[in-house]
């Protein structure tokens, strides 16, 4: 069951990759078990979150690629500012 707000959980997952670029598809698969069934959860909505988190400098978009459906995607890594914000994650995580 999901504990964190979706946007915060996305940041959390990217932080857990410890600098390895994370693909949007990977994130979606990771989040599926926790948030599937909620009206807010869709690939497009998750990408909106990613762009907003990127716009405010918490993550960085790197290594663009085309996925298996021919859609252009970014991979994401956390920034120093983003790492700093993970201090607000609940202690249980």
């Amino acid at each position: 069951m999901a504990v964190l707000p979706l946007r915060f959980r996305i940041l959390h997952l990217i932080n857990q990759a410890e600098g390895r670029p994370v693909k949007a598809n990977e994130l979606y698969k990771e989040l599926y078990d926790e948030y599937a069934g909620e009206g807010q959860f869709s690939f497009e909505f998750m990408e909106d979150h990613l762009m907003s988190i990127k716009a405010v400098g918490l993550i960085e978009a790197v290594e663009p690629y085309f996925d298996e459906f021919g859609e252009a995607r970014y991979q994401y890594v956390i920034t120093e500012t983003g790492k700093d914000r993970t201090k607000y994650l609940p202690k249980i995580l």
Partner: protein, 357 residues
């Protein structure tokens, strides 16, 4: 296909996202101007026009001030309560209801709550008091100088790098506010002590909203902006019910009757009720767009776009109310709006909405 072509596609997508942020900022301004005008119009409906609440305003007296405080806080309570309900409906429809609890359990969620206390009881009260004392057409431009304060704070807190153009825009906003304040009024209007009180209280809104914007944005970096707004409006409404109204009623009763609760219950069954519901709808969706813009376009730029409500407020006031705006008021409001646009538009920065060193 190469990485370069993928990059080109993604740049286009990013530009679209940035434009959505700019659009959200403009919409927040238009809707807030409309909301302020409707809030001003609500004072023309029962129970505010009732003989029971009439006081003499010809000379300075505390009874009149107490009654105006009661009108304003009753209006603020109803506005934020309706806005909280409208936003909750919007979030439930979008399948985000569970995000309320999750967000409130995090520190960013608590920051949004703190921002709500600054933006609601401080900002909204100052704003409604301003509208009640000097009308929305004067209060709106004065409150619109809050981005000047916010831009300065954002420079230090978020390390935003603002180019000279932003600061020129901020100065224009401030000059426009001064012009509104010092400009002569229209025929039949006079600058009495209540005008000065209204202007001073309107500036209180600047402090509250600038602080709210910064705190909420910091929290929203990790939260859904629609949920952050839902929390903001609900916390503000609850704070009014539990703390602000009882304390203000208790304190102001030393000076004169301050029938906030009576007004609130009377308003439930009168024509003012749907007017406030409509104002809450406009205000709630203005906030939804504002919070989205803050998150997608950066604090200073989003606030600058939002602040064009100064112009929209005067325009709608001239169209929908009995106000006869002077040329100074229009120039002042236009100066604020132009300053805001100058702060916001820099095509080179559309791809990087918040500069972080």
């Amino acid at each position: 296909m190469s990485d370069n072509s993928a990059q080109a596609v993604l740049d286009q997508r990013q530009l679209k996202h940035s434009k959505k942020g700019i659009f959200a900022g403009i919409m927040s301004g238009v809707l807030w101007g409309a909301s302020g005008t409707v809030l001003g119009l609500a004072l023309n409906f029962a129970p505010f026009t009732s003989e029971a609440y009439a006081t003499d305003a010809s000379t300075f007296n505390w009874s009149y001030i107490c009654m105006m405080v009661a009108f304003s806080l009753c209006g603020a309570l109803m506005h934020d309560t309706f806005a909280a309900i409208w936003v909750a409906v919007h979030n439930i429809r979008a399948g985000k209801f569970k995000e309320y609890g999750r967000s409130l359990r995090t520190k960013p969620g608590k920051m949004v709550c703190l921002g709500a206390l600054l933006g609601g009881p401080v900002g909204m009260s100052g704003y409604l008091l301003g509208i009640t004392f000097v009308s929305s057409s004067y209060a709106l431009p004065i409150t619109a100088s809050y981005p000047a304060l916010a831009a300065i704070l954002a420079t230090f807190i978020f390390r935003e790098r603002n180019p000279a153009r932003v600061w020129v825009g901020v100065v224009l906003c401030i000059l426009g506010s001064f012009l509104v304040y010092y400009a002569p009024l229209g025929e039949g209007q006079e600058k009495d002590i209540y005008f000065a009180i209204g202007m001073i209280l309107s500036t209180l809104a600047c402090i509250g909203w600038a602080s709210e914007g910064l705190l909420s944005t910091y929290g929203m970096d990790m939260l859904d902006p629609d949920i952050a707004l839902g929390i903001r409006e609900a916390v503000s409404a609850i704070a009014y019910f539990i703390f602000i109204l009882p304390l203000v009623t208790l304190y102001m009763s030393k000076f004169g009757p301050t029938p906030i609760w009576e007004l609130f219950t009377d308003a439930m069954g009168t024509s003012a009720f749907p007017v406030y519901a409509f104002a809450g709808f406009l205000g709630g969706f203005s906030y939804i767009y504002w919070y989205r813009a803050l998150n997608m376009a950066g604090v200073a730029r989003a606030m600058a776009l939002n602040v064009t409500y100064a112009f929209w407020g005067v325009l709608l006031g001239a169209l929908l109310t009995s106000l006869e705006p002077t040329i100074y008021l229009f120039i002042g409001a236009a100066s604020i709006a132009f300053g805001a646009i100058l702060v916001s538009i820099n095509p080179r920065e559309l791809f990087r909405l918040r500069d972080v060193k």
